[in-house]
């Protein structure tokens, strides 16, 4: 193996004024997931698979206009409705592996409705 391995870790936080079930549904429902994850004007999908259950695989492969072929393959390792979604994923850019990692997704789905 050549090249270097760069380890990185980051946290993103967004406060969204919608019920927790809606946020979970945006990740769990295929149409909703597609709507914000891959349906974008600068992206052409070449492969699409979505099996949202523990052990299930998600694939999002496509090309940014004028950009490289991007392939995202994820496997769900833990799903607790309205609480958390854990997945691991690999990323390739033009066939070269770029990223692999674990994401603790939605581990704080609290919704603060009484603003």
């Amino acid at each position: 193996m050549t090249g270097t391995v760069t380890h990185a870790s980051f946290t993103l936080t967004r406060d969204i004024a919608v019920p927790v079930e809606r946020t979970f549904a945006a990740f769990a429902d295929p149409a909703q997931k597609r709507a914000w994850f891959t349906d974008r004007p600068d992206w052409d999908t070449t492969e699409d698979a979505f099996d949202f259950r523990v052990g299930g695989t998600e694939i999002a492969e496509g090309r940014f206009h004028g950009g490289p072929l991007s392939r995202f393959v994820a496997r769900y390792t833990d799903i607790v409705a309205d609480e958390r979604i854990v997945l691991t994923y690999d990323m390739w850019l033009d066939g070269a592996r770029r990223e692999e990692g674990t994401r603790g997704l939605l581990d704080d789905l609290a919704a603060y409705l009484e603003g």
């Binding site: 969204i16 019920p19 809606r22 549904a25 429902d29 914000w36 994850f37 974008r40």
Partner: protein, 115 residues
């Protein structure tokens, strides 16, 4: 692709904005034109100091001034910070952009849509 002229302009804009009192002047001037003494009073600055700051802002193309009688009126140049704003908005990681799309999706989805 930014050409050298744009790069030079960006240098001037960021240099002009790299000073709290000049940013305060910009904040004041986007609300409407002001005389030099109006800009000096709230900041507790001398007129020569204000004029120095205004020169830096004018060199960057952010403000313009005109003299009517004995009063020099300073105005914000509309659109002068658009290029800077676009550049700043583009400096987001793909994960941030994806989170933004999720938020947009959730805030736009009609109330009854979630299961």
């Amino acid at each position: 692709m930014p050409n050298s002229q744009e790069a030079e302009r960006a240098d001037l804009v960021f240099r002009a904005l790299a000073e709290a009192r000049r940013r305060a002047m910009v904040e004041r001037l986007v609300r409407g034109p002001a005389s030099v003494s109006e800009l000096a009073a709230p900041a507790g600055l001398s007129l020569p100091t204000v004029l120095q700051h205004l020169d830096v802002l004018a060199d960057a193309g952010i403000v313009t001034s005109s003299k009517l009688g004995r009063t020099r009126t300073v105005s914000f140049v509309p659109g002068s910070l658009d290029g800077t704003a676009t550049w700043l908005a583009a400096q987001r990681t793909s994960a941030e952009q994806q989170a933004d799309r999720l938020v947009t999706h959730l805030e736009a989805a009609p109330e009854g849509e979630a299961p």
